[in-house]
Assembly symmetry: C2
Homo-oligomer: 210 residues x 2
């Protein structure tokens, strides 16, 4: 069996490359303007592939943009996961997740620009980081690490707060993102019932390395 | 002196009416699809005004959509303010503001659909509700009602959390919005350092009437 991520022959490799070029063009558009009313012709030109090729890969423009957003969500999740592996305490995971996300505004600007524009609709996604964050919240409440609260509403607050912070950092690049992220992490931990002093310490602890 | 909100003669009244029709069309578009790539011709048709009239009122399409979003932000702020007048405790204001906003998903769907799409960029606006919420946060920190925290980061968390909750309510209309909003209010108060038990009571207290 072959999959698009492990193409086995020249035909499959070319096909995967074309698909990736189309998704790459869609990502650029989402990051630059977010204007998805652009024509398929313009997308194909940007991807440097033939116009007719488009429909071999995606039934519609919407499907392409959706695939691009999903790829970005997966990349974001994988980048954060690489740091959080081995961090067991749900409170430490929340604090590090917030701080690492804001760092990604500078290290992964395209990913974070797309999240800024499209993330709101994916906070309750059942894939990627959203579902693992929900697991962390459930686990934290069940173990008593976090105070009782509906984990879905807590995830809503965390996701929305994080997107608003990412938006602020893009809109005002001169702000101290590290400090703002540490303060946000502290607020999230207090919200989850972590003692104020411990929240302050955890939010400023050394970050895990990837 | 005349202003556009208090036109004194027939010419001014007609002019104000045309402007309002254009803004109304822009609001519909923002609420329905958010697709601002629509042509000026289509906007004029929807507003039932002549194409040439457009430029008597707005130098560009962007200016029209910006004016529509500002009008919506003002309406939102005024609707919440009408309820919060006379509520002095910053914690009670925060809790009621969250809960009233979620109610507006049903009572003011157009306003809230536009906020859902465009609100993220206006959390730190120096007009309307955002600036008054920032005042409440500063006041609450200064008086000791809230724990110390950068009020701008706290406003970011509150604004983002609220938008994410509004998004969730639109995406899943079957959820109990009242209960989710009360839980969110409780989380926001805990985040601001209000004692957990008091946060729970305040978040479920009777709402002020307009």
């Amino acid at each position: 069996m072959t999959t698009e991520t492990q193409p086995v022959n020249r035909f499959e490799r070319r096909r995967a490359k074309t698909r990736e070029a189309l998704i790459g063009a869609a990502r650029q558009i989402l990051a630059e303007s977010g204007d998805t009313s652009v024509s398929i012709q313009a997308i194909a030109e940007r991807a440097d592939v033939g116009f007719g090729t488009f429909y071999n890969h995606f039934p519609s423009k919407t499907d392409l943009f959706d695939a691009a957003v999903e790829e970005v969500l997966d990349e974001y999740g994988q980048a954060i996961d690489a740091y959080l592996t081995g961090v067991e305490d749900p409170a430490a995971r929340v604090a590090a997740g917030v701080r690492l996300s804001v760092r990604m505004v500078e290290s992964h600007p395209e990913v974070m620009k797309i999240l800024r524009r499209r993330g709101l609709g994916h906070i309750h996604s059942d894939r990627g980081l959203a579902s693992r964050a929900l697991e962390d919240l459930r686990h934290g409440v069940a173990s008593g690490r976090f105070a009782a609260a509906d984990p879905v509403v807590a995830l809503t607050a965390m996701g929305g707060s994080l997107l608003a912070l990412v938006d602020m950092k893009f809109a005002h690049p001169q702000i101290d993102g590290e400090e703002a992220a540490a303060t946000m992490a502290e607020l999230m931990l207090r919200m989850l019932g972590v003692d104020a002093r411990e929240a302050q310490c955890l939010a400023r602890a050394p970050l895990p390395s990837a």
